[in-house]
Every structure is written in C-alpha cells, then in structure tokens.
Symmetry: C2
Subunit: 134 residues, 2 copies
C-alpha cells in the first residue's frame, strides 16, 4: 500500500526564522511561502533530491497545528505523508484492519490539490500519518 | 549542504507490534530486526521507493531513545537524517553559523557504518537532525 514518502511536515512557530535555518544555515532550497487559508497554514517546501520537507506555520484562528504548537512551542515533526495509488482502496483496507481514519473518513483535497486522509496516531506508534493519492 | 533524506526515525515501545503495523496494516516491506547494542537500539527498516523509515526500540539500560519514550509512551517521530557529502565541512559551517552539534562535536560511526552527527533540536525548530556522510 505505502508508496513514496511524499513529505515530512514540521510545525514551526515562526516561518521566516525556520526558512532562514533551512536556507542559510543548512544550505537547502526553500520555496517562497504560500498561504493556504483553507488548510489553516502557511507553508514553504524544503526541496531535497528524493523528497521534500514542509515547514508549516499556523494561519488563522482554527489552525490544525495550533494544538501541536501549544504542546511543542519550539515546533517539531508533525506528520509524515506517504503516497498511495488508490486512497479509497487504502482507506477500506485500513478500516477493515481496525485502523482509525480521522474525520468523517472521506478523503479531502489536501494542500497539493490531491485527495488525502489522516490516520489516528494512536494506531501507528504515536505518528500522525497522511496518505495522499498521486 | 543537505542532500537526500536518508531516513526518518520513529521511536516505538514495541518493535514487534510496530512491525506488524507497517508490514501487515500498511502493506510495506519491513526488514528483520537488527540489535545494535553499541547504539542502544534494535532497528527495523521500512523500505520505501525513495527513502526509508527506521523503527527504533530501546535496547539495554542506557538507550538514547529511552527519555523520548518516557515522554512519549506511544512512540513518535524521533529524528530525520539528511545525507551530506563532507561531514567535517558541514559541521564547521554549522558551528560557524552558531548551530550546536551534540556531544563532543566529533562524528561517530552511526548505525549504517557511516560518520554521523546530531544537531541540537533547539536550533532547528524542535527537530532532532542527524547528518550522515555518504
């Protein structure tokens, strides 16, 4: 079921400072910030040869990463996103095995314009897993 | 400086159960466990098309992941490892920019037999970064 690691997402309290860390200190290519109000985040991509890291800053009053940052004020690794070929088939297989899909179980259109689902971290060793159909 | 994402490491309290999650529930290829007493962990690799995920279980009394698991009993994402071409040059550049290298600042031979260093999470938005020379 699992394909490529599409991205690793890191929640950060200050996107400008995080961009400087990755671009200047670590010498990586970092894209310009994109505000995604419908997802409650502003994002930049750290482009690496085999995958990408997304740095996420909360945007608006109901950001999905606000609670994580309240618990981890410096920031931290928030989720890992794997590609799947068929997200409905993946969901149905996972649900049949007892894994919990977050929300109403229906794929949403994610930050990359593709259907995504999130799996309950309690079912996967404390790791929030996003599945993205590519 | 940053090259490929070599791996994402997830600390888990029970490697057998985590292996079942990734192999059976998520349908990924998972290697057989390797005990690495000199690193204080037992590890399996989840092999993905573009990178790998390492699942780490504490081994012995002084495991470097014991404190993390005490704070996160279900487990969680522990660090991300980037490849660099020259770890001494990378270290010197990072130190000159004010970033802190953990330990005595000298590369150690990591779990893959290559020289590695860890960077202080407080300098990188709460993310523990490993650099591995490849």
């Amino acid at each position: 079921m699992l394909g490529r690691v599409n991205h690793v997402a890191i929640a950060v309290p200050d996107l400008a400072s995080a961009t400087t860390s990755y671009r200047t200190t670590l010498g990586a290519t970092v894209t310009e910030p994109q505000a995604l109000p419908e997802h409650g985040v502003t994002v930049v991509f750290v482009t690496l040869p085999n995958t990408k890291v997304e740095l996420l800053e909360p945007l608006g009053d109901a950001s999905p990463i606000a609670a994580f940052l309240a618990k981890n004020p410096s920031g931290g690794m928030h989720h890992i996103c794997y590609e799947v070929e068929d997200i409905i088939a993946a969901r149905d297989t996972l649900k049949a095995s007892g894994a919990r899909v977050l929300g109403d179980g229906e794929p949403k259109i994610g930050a990359h314009g593709k259907p995504v689902l999130f799996l309950h971290p309690k079912d996967f060793q404390g790791t929030l897993i996003e599945l993205e159909q590519v």
